[in-house]
Amino acid sequence: MDKLQLLIAVSMALFALGLLGVIVRRNVLIMLMCMELMLNGVNLSLVAFAQQTASTAGAVLVFLIFVVATAEIAIAIPIVLLLARQKRAMDLDAYADLKG
């Protein structure tokens, strides 16, 4: 297995594990962290492709993903704080009445 194949396999596995965590876990904070794991998997594949094809566009896109991840966390954490303060639980089943 050469280097690019290894990196792409690792990035796919990270993305899939993050998606599995979002689907399977019930704690809201852990689901947020699994979303970060998915973004990390995508970043790894972008860096691998950018380095392989010797173009800066992929690495620049990684920067933009960093910023989007920071903005996502900056908005998601206050929402989770408010939810947890109101429902007194971090479990997803406590938020079932949010279903539209």
């Binding site: 689907i23 794991l37 380095q51 910023v67 991840a69 920071t70 704080l81 007194r88």
Partner: protein, 168 residues
Amino acid sequence: MIETLFLYLFAGTALGAAALMIVLRSPMRVALALILCMLSLAAVYALLEVHVIAVFQVLIYVGAVMVFMVYAIMLLDDRDGPRTARYSRLLVPGVGALVLLLAILAHGVWTSLPEPTLAAAGNLFALKEFSIAFLNEYWLHFELVSVLLVAAVVAALAVLQVGRRKHG
């Protein structure tokens, strides 16, 4: 040779930490596993000689995002006792979807990997060259991203204001 060994070592560490994130129960331990995963990914980036991304992975992800996350966990922890279930009802369909997704992605990617271009890949991602390319070609994206950050800060403040008004 030794670089390949380190590449396998850090990639394996990242995968192991990601698997631990699914298994561990306490949110703080999950956060520490995620930090380990991000640090090993930064080491992988450094081994690929994309040093700028490695530095910013440590600075932004581990330094800012995960510190914020750990702070939130310290604020909110121990709301749920150990009696709450770790996994939702979707455990079996989730694992099935994981296997299916991996199979489809592997099939799609393996058949269309790009040919490596070896020309001058080494110093393209050095700090000076990368910064010049970044701020010359992608200055518009850079500025738009700063607008996005301002919007995120305003949105976070607005969310907290709504909560404060409701609670008095």
